[in-house]
């Protein structure tokens, strides 16, 4: 009888000890926030274009973390979908057709304001998600090309249609080796 009591007492003490340890650890090493959202946000292209139907990349990342479809990011394309699928452990889905970019060109684009036509309405400035348009009321506006994400959001609000999306010309600095275009061969 005494032995049983001793056994129970010892086990009780051990369980209390480990319980306290676990409790302490859960408080001490508590993970703050939702790291998956941050990871998803890092995968998205950060154009803030809103083509996914969310007002920016972070809101879409949050939505994906909460079960939204992963195939709504048009600027990211298949690569981004693949990365998100890897991260979320879901199957790769083809890019949603309604979110597909126009097939005319896939190159990165930048907004361009035809300054002679600009009436200075500031509508595009309000639409720009990254504040990449300079200007003031009744003053000519212009796009800071380096900051422009090519999201297209400024084109629609322009009352005089003076904004167009132009492709960024390829330079030797941005040029990509294309093994299909240039025959690869070792010369020696």
């Amino acid at each position: 009888m005494i032995n049983i009591l001793i056994a129970i007492a010892i086990l009780g003490i051990i369980s209390a000890l480990f319980g306290a340890l676990l409790g302490y650890a859960s408080v001490k090493y508590h993970v703050q926030g939702d790291p998956i959202v941050e990871q998803l946000d890092a995968l998205l292209p950060q154009t803030q274009c809103g083509q996914c139907g969310y007002p920016g990349c972070k809101p879409y990342a949050e939505a994906v973390a909460n079960g939204e479809l992963i195939n709504k990011c048009a600027p990211g394309g298949e690569d981004t979908i693949k990365k998100i699928a890897d991260l979320m452990g879901v199957e790769v889905q083809p890019l949603d057709e309604s979110h597909e970019q126009d097939s005319s060109s896939n190159g990165p684009k930048v907004a361009f304001i035809i300054e002679a036509d600009c009436i200075g309405c500031t509508k595009c400035i309000q639409a720009c998600p990254v504040d990449a348009i300079m200007g003031a009321a009744k003053q000519m506006h212009t796009v800071i090309a380096d900051e422009c994400t090519g999201c297209d959001l400024c084109v629609a609000p322009c009352p005089v249609d003076c904004i167009e999306m132009r492709e960024i010309p390829e330079t030797p600095q941005s040029w990509q080796w294309d093994l299909n275009k240039i025959a690869i061969k070792q010369l020696t």
């Binding site: 950060q46 972070k58 998600p129 040029w175 990509q176 080796w177 025959a183 010369l187 020696t188």
Partner: protein, 819 residues
């Protein structure tokens, strides 16, 4: 450090890992002197010829330029200017294909050569030792010198260093096959090169200067050794020939045994490496004030009839150079493959690239133009890659000078596995091509690495841009939030300021307040007029809005008097309307007048510090009102039509008056409420009897009896007499309910009552006096008729009785109205 020098003097070196021994092929050009070429017709000078940024244009189309004149300038430290290689006219500034594997176009300056080769003014500096370091560096920068070994790093940045330099290494290895440009330069211009080395020595003051040169250039070694005999510091280190010993890190390892860590610069190890051609350019720039406008280019390959090293002006099109050296495209294309142009390679066979257009100009980094024949280099002519699968032989890893794993890299590059490539240190690859050279499967490994490197760089740029966009997006969100809060605060402040201005007891504020109150009242009056609401309700509303607890009782008492005057007014109105036909036209102005008066009475009551004042202010408007009503009544009397309509409207008016009473009495004490109940109970039957009255009146008109009229007149005067005690009875309890303190007020209220009593009485007398006269006249006219009709008498008597009853009701009505 001493041990390093000891080892070097003993001729021992630290071998680097890997390396290959490809056929040297230097015999084509190594035994011929550097040839001076005639001036080409046109030069194409790209704005950017090196790593970094291009400068801003200084010239325009049509400008005459002199030899050595700068064409661009820039404040950017990573930028060096370009200069006109000879005198001439700028014919165009446009995009043209540049020396780049992509074959893309960049902005170039086209110079039509005038053939005079006129120099700009030059300052020959015989004694460079007198120049300060800063002067030398600015001279180097202004001369547009960029590393001439291949990468083209701006030299003035490389020599402008602070930390102590242990070794200055002059790279004269020239390890790539075919190329002999540096070899010939060393042979012919060793003294100039040594001058350049001395200038670098002055700038960097290193402990030792090591010239690394491969043992396949005996004449150059001899020339350098002779030129540096007198200088203890300079050691000419003869290295065994092995590709790629000319690689910066490989040369450092060979000479010093030190390995430069991945991602680090040699400078961190106290080592600066300069190409031998750069040393020549430095001496030319500092001593002769000659900018970098020409360089030695090896023109070689079996497709050339006269392969030779030439002094080529920068911007000389490759086609001109090939032409000068007897390029035989037919011998290159020995077979029937005339469909494609023969390959021309810029740079060496290991690290160069095919140029797609022979208009490509020579730039600062172009050291060799290779035009091979098909037998010499069949792979350059092959249109399809002979690549087969990797057999995992591992030879590539054996020869890699950077000790990487080329086959692993290749797989990861094909799979675009960028993290894995980074883990395999792809960026330590120097693109030497040794792995591809030994590959039995003929896999163009370097090409895969180049693609992968470019992709990773692009991805890094995109990531950087994405990060920036994210920051800007977040910043914008914060800004919008801040602006929203600021706007709300501003609105709040403005509202508070308005309120404060209103509550100030200044006359201006009071005026503003009353103006607002008047405006409010006007709006409400309109509403009341349209909905038929009584003015008293408005009064009450305004009262409750302006609640002032301190003078609550005052308000109450003021209201009492006010209400009394209202009641009286209502009575007047009722009477007026009884007589009026054009009721609508009359009522509206009246009611609005009432409202105005009520409001003014209320506001003054609010402001009034004492009870008496409040009471007094209420008097005046009440009196005014009576006068107005009297006038209105007088007008109404003139009109004697549409009695039935007037009565109906009056009925509704009485309804609303009764309601007013009910509402007003809410403000009174319980005693008053009891009285009210009685009043309201009286009002209801009175209203019901009004209809009867109308009928009776109609009947009276029909009857047209004299006696009746007289009786009525008498009855009315009697009623008026009885009115006074009645009203006083009703009013007195109200006054009693007010507190004793307000004795004065109640007295004055009584006075008002008195006034109001007398006036209606006179009014009613006025009302009645003309009316009987009219009647009398009519009666007189009808008497004749009546006499003729004797039978009507009985009916008339009955009617008289009815009329008396009607009159009694009338009096009651008026009494109630007054209350």
């Amino acid at each position: 450090m001493e041990s390093i020098i000891e080892r070097i003097t003993q001729g021992k070196f630290w071998p680097f890992h890997g390396g290959i021994h490809p056929p040297e092929q230097k015999h084509f050009t190594c035994d011929k002197p550097i040839r001076q070429l005639p001036l080409p017709k046109q030069l194409i000078v790209p704005l950017q010829q090196h790593i970094g940024r291009q400068g801003d244009l200084l010239v325009n189309v049509g400008d005459k330029v002199l030899k050595g004149q700068p064409l661009t300038q820039s404040m950017n430290p990573m930028s060096v200017p370009i200069h006109a290689p000879t005198s001439g006219t700028i014919s165009a500034i446009k995009r043209s294909v540049i020396a780049h594997p992509s074959g893309l176009s960049e902005l170039c300056i086209f110079i039509d050569v005038d053939g005079e080769d006129t120099w700009r003014a030059r300052n020959i500096c015989a004694n460079y030792t007198q120049l300060s370091n800063q002067q030398i560096i600015s001279k180097i920068a202004d001369a547009g010198i960029a590393g001439m070994g291949g990468a083209g790093f701006p030299t003035h940045i490389k020599v402008n260093t602070k930390p102590d330099i242990n070794f200055l290494i002059i790279n004269a290895a020239e390890c790539e096959p075919y190329i002999t440009a540096d070899d010939l330069l060393m042979r012919e211009h060793s003294s100039a090169i040594v001058d350049g080395i001395k200038i670098l020595d002055q700038l960097l003051s290193p402990a030792f200067i090591l010239i690394g040169i491969e043992d396949n250039k005996p004449q150059a070694i001899k020339a350098l050794q002779q030129a540096t005999q007198s200088i203890e510091k300079i050691k000419v280190c003869v290295l065994p020939t092995k590709y790629p010993s000319g690689g910066e890190k490989q040369l450092i390892k060979l000479l010093t045994g030190k390995e430069v860590a991945s991602g680090a610069l040699p400078l961190h190890a106290g080592i600066v490496v300069q190409n031998v051609a750069t040393c020549f350019a430095i001496s030319d720039a500092v001593i002769n004030d000659t900018p970098l406008i020409r360089r030695v280019v090896t023109l070689t390959g079996q497709a050339l009839a006269k392969p030779q090293n030439v002094w080529a002006l920068l911007g000389t099109p490759v086609s001109y150079l090939l032409e000068q050296t007897g390029f035989n495209s037919e011998s290159a294309l020995s077979d029937q493959q005339t469909t494609s142009t023969p390959p021309v390679i810029m740079g060496g066979p290991m690290m160069g690239f095919s140029i797609l257009n022979e208009q490509v100009p020579v730039v600062k980094t172009s050291n060799c133009i290779l035009a091979p024949s098909k037998t010499e280099m069949p792979s350059a002519f092959a249109h399809n890659s002979n690549e087969v699968e990797c057999i995992r032989c591992g030879q590539c890893a054996d020869v890699c000078p950077s000790q990487l794993l080329p086959q692993e890299l290749q797989w990861s590059a094909k799979a675009k596995d960028h993290p894995q490539l980074a883990a395999l240190n792809l960026f330590d690859c120097i693109d030497c091509g040794a792995c591809a050279y030994v590959c039995p499967s003929q896999i163009p490994l370097v090409q895969y690495y180049r693609v992968a490197k470019a992709e990773i760089r692009r991805q890094q740029q995109l990531d950087l841009k994405a990060e920036k966009a994210k920051d800007r997006f977040e910043a914008r969100k914060v800004r919008l939030e801040r602006e929203k809060i600021a706007r709300e605060e501003k609105q709040k402040k403005a509202a508070a300021a308005r309120k404060a201005a209103m509550n100030k007891k200044t006359p201006a504020a009071g005026a503003a307040k009353s103006a607002v109150a008047a405006a409010l009242a006007r709006v409400k009056a309109k509403k009341a007029a349209s909905s038929g609401e009584s003015s008293a309700t408005i009064t009450k509303n305004i009262d409750s809005a302006n609640v002032n607890t301190d003078v609550n009782t005052v308000n109450n008492s003021a209201e009492i008097t006010d209400e009394k005057s209202q009641v009286q007014a209502a009575i007047e109105r009722a009477k007026a309307k009884r007589l009026a036909k054009n009721k609508a036209a009359q009522q509206q102005p009246e009611s609005s007048e009432n409202i105005k008066q009520d409001i003014s009475a209320d506001t003054s009551a609010d402001k009034a510090p004492t009870d008496t004042e409040a009471a007094k202010t209420t008097h005046a408007p009440a009196d005014d009102k009576k006068a107005k009503i009297a006038a209105a009544v007088a007008k109404a009397k003139a009109k004697t039509q549409a009695k039935a309509l007037a009565k109906k409207q009056q009925d509704s008016e009485e309804h609303s008056n009764a309601e007013t009473d009910a509402e007003v009495s809410d403000n009174l004490n319980a005693v008053t409420i009891d009285n009210k109940l009685e009043i309201s109970s009286l009002t209801k039957p009175a209203l019901a009897q009004d209809d009867k009255k109308a009928k009776i009146a109609a009947a009276v008109a029909k009857a047209k009896a004299k006696a009746q009229a007289k009786a009525k007149a008498l009855a009315k005067t009697q009623n008026d007499q009885t009115q006074q005690p009645l009203v006083e009875e009703v009013v007195s309890p109200k006054n009693e309910t007010t507190t004793d303190d307000k004795a004065e007020l109640s007295e004055q209220v009584d006075k008002i009552e008195g006034k109001s009593h007398t006036k209606p009485t006179t009014n009613s007398e006025n009302n009645l006096a003309p009316a009987p006269n009219d009647k009398k006249a009519r009666i007189a006219a009808t008497v004749a008729k009546a006499k003729a009709k004797a039978k009507a008498k009985a009916a008339a008597k009955a009617q008289a009785k009815l009329d008396g009853a009607a009159n009694a009701i009338d009096t009651e009505n008026t009494n109630e109205d007054r209350q």
